[in-house]
């Protein structure tokens, strides 16, 4: 019977024959329902979009390198801005992170697959199709022949700029549909992860014995289920406005512009946590292994993550301090936002506590993780400044905010994505990534990142608004912007090192073995790459670090937990 276990095992055995024609092998990837393959496809697809959206960012920085530059037209800049922002969130951040969770969660809970493998495949293809729609808008935005008309309304697409009166053609419709599809795909993934985590853990893995990564995967999935539907609803309402003459956000017919902002940020703020919690999750696995210590304060770490998720649902209007809320509203959202810093602080302290007294091995994943710690500290502190509502009246919609959220998105999330790639690449491919190229990658990217984004804090403090295609000379902004743009060259060089590293390693990397980092969670107990069915025999665990117990039978974890 097609799709039965035996059939799929047989297929995977066949695929090992290198003689399969390339089309046949492609066909296998297309029809796969294996969580590992789908995870890798999310990650690979996300990385491709990362390169494209990164090039778009570099083009913006080229235009901004000097004042009053006329290298690209304003509308072209606004399109780059919109597509870059949208792509980085929906086509890069979400898929890469959920891709990792897809890959790792079943392995870490000792299961053979996710609960709904076909739903998983469906989610992926929905995501891919939605993603392609965003870029297709470049061709289709003004009808099939109106080339070059991608959306130019910004990634938060404030109404009524997105209404027909101000956004003609179809580019905004492509934007709406793209987000609608990718978020339906993500909701499917979230439901799948939740079900798997709560129903499919191996024998002995109680909730208190799950790796922290799995806990965070559950929290993230819960958040996605709560916040993606409002986003989809808002997109549907906007479509109704644009095609059927509804007036939800159409201010010219009496609709509300502020309603859109509430809808968008009820999704948009927790979305930051949807992105950053998986990054935390990677740090929770990598920092202990390379410090050779158990994670410090497991329960508090988990509790802090749950608290973060809950608080994040009540802070959305801190994106709206300048819309003219009453003082009580401003004060409430300032206060709730500042509360976020307490669980965040706990997490940072616990990571330091994990390194404290350890024997830290500075392999590439650990280097990226330490970069993450420092940069996330900065991002958190600038976040507190933004939560101080009156201070935010000056800072919001300036380059200070651009710097702040790139510290979150690149400094924390992208750094942890790279850490995770260096860490789990050997598991997924059976090959190690090169250390020397890895170091070049790390240092170039780190230097470039701070050159670009640290400087931009100061541009904001000097009154440079964001989302402008140019600025005037003589405003004290010239040097800052030039340095920021040169930083992009370093970042790009770093990424190039990474690409070379991946290609070289796939061709002729050092074989990894099952457990190259001397790690402790279940994924390292199976072969690299794992067989299609993950475990020949389902594991049984007694503690959070089953491989530690195996390696240290004289002093196992379960004695202390």
């Amino acid at each position: 019977m097609a799709g039965s276990i035996e059939h799929r095992i047989a297929l995977s055995a066949e695929s090992d024959h290198a003689s399969l024609p390339i089309l046949g092998r492609a066909h296998e990837w297309v029809v796969t329902v294996d969580h590992k393959r789908l995870g890798l496809m999310y990650i690979g697809g996300g990385l491709v979009f990362f390169l494209i959206a990164g090039l778009q960012a570099a083009t913006m920085r080229l235009q901004l390198a000097i004042p009053n530059a006329g290298i690209i037209a304003p509308q072209v800049f606004n399109r780059l801005l919109t597509v870059h922002g949208t792509a980085m969130v929906f086509l890069v951040g979400m898929p890469i992170l959920t891709g990792f969770l897809n890959y790792l969660v079943p392995l870490m809970i000792g299961a053979r697959d996710l609960a709904f493998p076909r739903l998983n495949a469906f989610g992926f293809w929905l995501w891919l199709f939605g993603s392609l729609l965003l870029y297709f808008s470049y061709i289709g935005g003004d009808g099939l022949y109106g080339a070059g008309s991608a959306p130019d309304v910004g990634w938060f697409a404030y109404a009524p700029l997105t209404e027909r009166a101000f956004s003609r053609g179809n580019s905004t419709d492509y934007w709406i549909l793209s987000i609608l599809l990718t978020s339906v795909g993500s909701t499917a993934t979230a439901i799948n992860l939740l079900t798997s985590i709560f129903c499919m853990r191996c024998e002995g893995m109680t909730l208190r014995k799950m790796p922290v990564l799995v806990w965070l995967a559950a929290v993230v999935s819960f958040l996605m289920c709560v916040v993606l539907p409002p986003l989809s609803a808002a997109q549907a309402m906007l479509l109704l406005d644009r095609f059927l003459g509804a007036h939800f956000f159409d201010t010219q017919a009496g609709g509300s512009a502020i309603l859109w902002q509430h809808f968008f940020w009820i999704f948009g703020h927790p979305e930051v946590y949807v992105l950053v919690l998986p990054a935390f999750a990677f740090a929770n696995e990598i920092i202990p292994v390379f410090s050779r210590k158990v994670i410090f304060g497991y329960s508090v770490m988990v509790a802090a993550s749950c608290a973060l998720a809950f608080i994040s649902l009540g802070v959305w209007a801190h994106h709206m301090f300048s819309v003219g809320m009453a003082p009580a509203g401003n004060a409430f959202f300032a206060a709730s936002t500042m509360l976020v810093s307490i669980p965040t602080g706990i997490k940072i302290f616990n990571w330091i506590g994990t390194m404290w007294g350890g024997k830290i091995r500075f392999r590439i994943p650990m280097m990226f993780s330490v970069g993450f710690l420092a940069q996330f500290l900065i991002a958190g502190l600038t976040g507190i400044m933004l939560a101080v509502a009156p201070f935010d009246w000056q800072l919001t919609d300036t380059y200070f905010v651009v710097a702040h959220f790139h510290y979150v998105l690149i400094g924390a999330i992208v750094f942890m994505i790279f850490a995770a790639i260096y860490y789990w690449f050997p598991k997924a491919t059976g090959k190690m990534l090169g250390e020397r190229l890895g170091k070049w990658h790390f240092w170039l990217f780190l230097i470039g990142f701070h050159m670009t984004f640290d400087t931009l804090h100061f541009a904001g403090l000097r009154g440079m608004p964001r989302r402008i295609y140019t600025y005037q000379p003589g405003r004290g902004l010239d040097t800052i912007n030039l340095i920021a743009s040169i930083g992009v060259i370093f970042q790009a060089a770093g990424i190039l090192m990474f690409l070379i590293n991946v290609i070289r390693s796939l061709r002729s990397g050092k074989p990894a073995g099952d457990d190259p980092w001397d790690a402790w969670t279940l994924e390292w107990s199976t072969s690299s790459p794992p067989p299609e069915y993950n475990f020949a025999e389902l594991p049984v665990v007694r503690s959070r670090r089953p491989l530690w117990d195996l390696k240290h039978p004289e002093d196992p974890d379960w004695k202390y937990e």
Binding site: G297, W356, V370, D397, Q472, G474
Partner: protein
């Protein structure tokens, strides 16, 4: 050394490119006389209140940064594996309740203090006193320019807001009502106050009381479409007497100069009148800026160019050359008509 030469090379290339690409209609020189719009050099009470709170916040976050940053650096340096490591695992520490408790409560106390101080500033800045001398201004955001109305004085102008200096002994703050004619905009002059959005179907208010005379640059801070970047504004703060004089001049009907009658006829017989107003003529459009006292303004096109007859000519011929995407169409006038029209506009003082 190599690195430095590299950077210099790149900088030189970019500078050369900038000259090739830049089209700066005299604004660079005009702006460089005005100090940067740093939020840390406030000249008005709301901005000063924010500045005080900002320094307090920076002190707290700066201290936390130093402490936690040093902890990270220390643990990374102190606890790295040595080359003579014996390969044994370090002691496993699973956690510590007293330590966890400490680093939960201390941040909680800091946060509590910060919340109180923040709330206080929110209430003081948002609740403005309204002394008898206050000036009322209606600010209307348009895709990509600003309209300023003084309802009590009967003045309408654009892109340059004149307000009187306010001295603490005898305050004359300016009360601002913000509206939008199309999409969301945001009014922001960093040295005077934080930003407040101008949203369609919605009315926001704010106030400033500048105590320093001078020109302060601001700009739209909410993304509003193609030329969002070129939705600039300047606030001109004058001693009270000068402000009064300016207001009187703005109230006057525009000059009727016979020598430019031809240009005036051109203006009144083309589509200009559909969008612009000039008091005392048939033109009463509201889609574009009021031109009654056009030449009393320093800049053109919401700050893209210095306001000179030469620039006016380029602008009227084809605004897109200066401000691509601007909603004013190219007027396609005969050269002679264009000359006459610009001569007429140049008399609108």
């Amino acid at each position: 050394m190599m690195m430095k030469r590299w950077l210099l090379g790149i900088a030189a290339m970019l500078a050369a490119a900038s000259r090739a690409f830049a089209n700066d209609w005299g604004m660079g020189d005009a702006n460089s006389k005005i100090p940067p719009s740093s939020i840390f050099s406030p000249v008005s009470t709301p901005a000063s209140d924010i500045n005080t709170l900002a320094f307090f916040t920076l002190a707290i976050t700066g201290t936390i940064f130093l402490i936690v940053g040093s902890l990270i650096v220390y643990s990374v340096v102190r606890f790295r594996a040595r080359s003579d490591d014996d390969g044994r695992e370090p002691p496993q520490v699973y956690g510590s309740n007293p330590i966890e408790f400490a680093w939960t409560t201390v941040p909680a106390i800091i946060v509590f203090v910060l919340i109180l101080i923040t709330a206080r500033t929110i209430y003081t800045v948002q609740a403005a006193p309204r002394p008898p001398g206050a000036i009322n201004v209606r600010v209307i955001g348009h895709q990509w320019w600003w309209e300023f109305q003084y309802p009590d004085l009967g003045i309408v102008t654009a892109n340059e807001l004149h307000v009187p200096q306010s001295d603490p002994a005898n305050p004359t703050p300016t009360f601002i009502v913000l509206e939008s004619a199309d999409v969301a905009h945001s009014f922001w002059v960093p040295r005077l106050a934080g930003k407040t959005d101008a949203i369609p179907n919605h009315r926001n208010t704010m106030w400033i009381d500048p105590h320093e005379v001078g020109t302060f640059l601001g700009q739209c801070a909410e993304f509003c479409g193609t030329e969002h970047a070129m939705m600039l504004l300047r606030v001109i703060v004058e001693p009270r007497g000068d402000f009064q004089r300016w207001a009187e001049a703005e109230k006057q009907a525009p000059v009727q100069d016979a020598s430019v009658a031809r240009g005036r006829a051109v203006f009144e017989s083309t589509a200009c009148v559909n969008c612009h107003a000039i008091r005392g003529t048939a033109a009463n459009g509201t889609f574009g800026p009021d031109l009654t006292h056009l030449m009393s303004r320093e800049t053109l096109g919401a700050g893209v160019a210095i306001n000179t007859p030469e620039h006016l000519k380029i602008w009227v011929h084809d605004p897109a050359e200066m401000k691509p995407g601007a909603l004013m169409p190219a007027m396609n006038l005969e050269p002679k008509d264009l000359d006459g029209l610009v001569a007429y506009l140049a008399t609108l003082r």
